[in-house]
Symmetry: C2
Subunit: 460 residues, 2 copies
């Protein structure tokens, strides 16, 4: 990169916060998606919101593509630099919790705050921030908002967008745009905050976030149910919802995943089971007790081979450890793990699981399926080796078929991982020509030089 | 209007659905805001979504400004035609509930469905659609989404935007844009559905809405608490929230409103009280019983003169009747009723109520204040006569001061009524130059001829 420009970045953020050496830049070349890495030209680390705005303006002025990066846990390539000309702006210098308001139930944060650390700070004040993406111990709130991250509690508590009350962001010229409010109700102006949610860094750069907090549930109870068929497990999910119970978490593991987790942890999982449901209800103690009783009965009625409620905190912890182990355990088996998140209306889960099994057979691939059965957000996880080109070609075909199946069932390409680079070619299939046209126009309007994370979502 | 163009509209929707006579057009010249009426050039009533798209395209082609109108209950002038050249598109021919999905908890509707009729249809299937704007028996879902309508249940259940899962809309060229999904989680593409929420008809015309449904609460309990000072009532609100109780409804009436409602209905309201809180909790029966007990105790502790829980459905109905009477009772007193909805963080309610009283004194105006204390969304209601120019000038100054006070307290111009024509001059004060610039650009991009409800929100 031009030395003059580097010096200008140094002038804004200080020399210690500009990384131009290749060894440093290498670390910002990839994210958690299985895609080719791209080494950026420069890495810049602002420490104040004012510096952030100046960095954005300088990138625009110099025509340098800009990718904002939290912790790089993105699963769709959203934080992979667009080109070797790219400037990566890391947000870990903007990690202050500015306010936790316990009277008005909101918090104001900078984008680089780590999700789990924020949730803990909120909990310490007796409140609750529900979104819990799988990567929460590492991921940043800015990244969560940019990708509209989900998590295990989506069914009852919704996803990140349900907790965004306001977003202050820089437009491409470095001008600060304020939207939303500190009040529960706000009908002032265009809903730009929510437009920013899930915008994957294409429309602006977050300066501050106003997030909604709620009182925590007073009690909770976790349960497991073992099934000898996927159909029975799926019917159980539907029956629970039909009984007007909304568990906070309702997770599914298929046989392949159960066996792999058991190999990894030896926690005594039922390796012969075709499906395992992990369920948690929360709320008022009386409600929790009643709902748990009802759920256990529904599981039995629907033919569960074994049903169990956690009797202690440790037992509950064991249940969720099994779920958290799913991805790392699967990832051990082969060099490359492709984690998908095509989502269907929850009533179509049996069809989707069947379809994934069929696809796994046709393309002769190992696919472990687990995920958020309660909200139809499954994670078929393909185990492969990217270097094996013949096999990887089959993987790509399998992914194509998974997406087509999800869309045919009235679902969506991405429940919580975003489009990024990974799924952009499928966009028009789900939406319409009009949607692509409208969206591209939005992008062109707010980023005429195409420097804000270019190439993501819709292609170049 | 040009006869040729009228004929083209007739060709699309049928001659019976095009109103060109002045007597007919008069009925579409105003909404519920206190603003001058504007008689449109033509009123068009599409009966199918396909017709709607063609009407939009024809307006754009002919350069005719277009205002979509549900039931015209808008309180900020959003449905007043922009000019005498305007085409008003009424949506009461697009009033089909297309699907209520009890397994996947969503509904698909056309924009002209009446809010309360929809809520009733949903309730019949054992589900719950919480948003309950004051005009729900008349208002349409399309209008609710366009204005991000609130209601009495905002505190616990949120507002309309919290129930919008997807919006299909026509862009200005009549091209269909699809966004959102039928799944709880969706991270596919820009969040255009939420951009449409609260967009006041400026960015597109709604074709279909996908709305989220939830299971209904199993029980509820209503209470009243009478106070001899506004401060005590406000402190009670804060103490309830601080105790981690979130009532579904938490309403406030000031002395002026109490006396007026009592004059109107003779229901035995405490006319000497300085403030009345109307509170309802819902949820699991055990939780409801506990929370109600706690709330009654908090009210007593904070110095309520009288505290009472409704013992029967009839008693509960009486409580909410008093609240529903507030606006019609106040409106009887004088020819013109200006209902405002500036909103503050709930902890600032005592300051806001005090400020409104002061303003009422300074400008010698009758202002009744009631509203959603739980979410800081008060409705100071100014009683006046628009034909009295001297007085109305004082009203306008009072409104200016109310807005300034709300913004100074970290609040927002509009909690639930929108900006429309009524508040556009205040927009930049709340947001920033960047916000106005970004928003205007958005408008210009998607509506280059400025025909979609022009002049609203930002001015011409």
């Amino acid at each position: 990169m031009d030395k003059q420009v580097v010096r200008r970045f140094e002038k804004i953020v200080g020399a210690g916060n500009v990384m131009a050496e290749e060894a440093d830049r290498q670390a910002y070349a990839y994210d958690a998606a299985v895609l080719d890495s791209v080494v950026p030209a420069l890495v810049v680390r602002p420490e104040t919101v004012a510096q952030l705005g100046q960095v954005v303006a300088l990138c625009n002025e110099s025509g340098l593509p800009l990718t904002v990066r939290g912790s790089g846990t993105n699963l769709s390539g959203g934080t992979i630099p667009s080109s070797t000309e790219s400037v990566v702006v890391v947000t870990n210098g903007l990690a202050r919790i500015l306010e936790i308001n316990t009277e008005d139930l909101y918090a104001v944060v900078e984008p680089g705050v780590i999700t789990a650390q924020f949730a803990a700070a909120v909990a310490e004040k007796g409140l609750f921030y529900p979104p819990d993406p799988g990567s929460q111990t590492v991921s940043t709130l800015g990244g969560n908002v940019a990708e509209n991250a989900g998590g295990l509690r989506g069914l009852k508590y919704g996803v990140t967008k349900d907790y965004v009350m306001g977003v202050e962001f820089f437009d491409v010229n470095g001008e600060l745009v304020k939207s939303g409010a500190r009040t529960v109700k706000c009908a002032t102006g265009f809903n730009l905050s929510d437009l920013m949610v899930g915008s994957e860094g294409l429309l602006g750069v977050f300066a501050r976030l106003i997030l909604k907090l709620i009182p925590p549930p007073k009690a909770s109870r976790a349960m497991t149910a073992v099934f000898d068929s996927v159909e029975k497990a799926s019917e159980t999910v539907s029956a629970i919802i039909a009984d007007r119970i909304v568990p906070c978490t309702l997770e599914f593991l298929d046989n392949f995943t159960i066996r792999t987790v058991e190999d990894f942890r030896h926690a005594g999982l039922p390796v012969d089971a075709e499906a395992l449901l992990l369920i948690e209800v929360d709320g008022h103690p009386a409600e929790v007790a009643e709902d748990a009783e009802k759920i256990l009965e529904i599981c039995r009625k629907k033919g569960a081979v074994q049903v169990q409620a956690a009797g202690s905190v440790e037992e509950k912890e064991l249940i969720w450890q099994a779920r958290r182990d799913a991805l790392p355990a699967l990832a051990r088996l082969k060099p490359t793990t492709v984690l998908e998140d095509a989502t269907v209306p929850r009533s179509r889960i049996p069809d989707m699981v069947k379809k994934i099994k069929e696809i796994s057979r046709i393309y002769n691939l190992d696919i472990g399926t687990f995920g958020h059965a309660g909200d139809g957000n499954l994670h078929p996880t393909i185990l492969t080796d990217k270097r094996n080109h013949e096999e990887f070609a089959r993987v790509e075909k399998a992914i194509d078929e998974i997406f087509e199946a999800a869309l045919a069932m009235g679902g969506t390409l991405s429940g919580e991982h975003g489009i990024g680079l990974a799924k952009r070619k499928y966009m028009e299939k789900e939406t319409s020509r009009g949607t692509i046209f409208y969206s591209r126009k939005l992008k062109q309007t707010f980023d005429p030089k195409n420097i804000l994370n270019p190439g993501k979502m819709f292609g170049a």
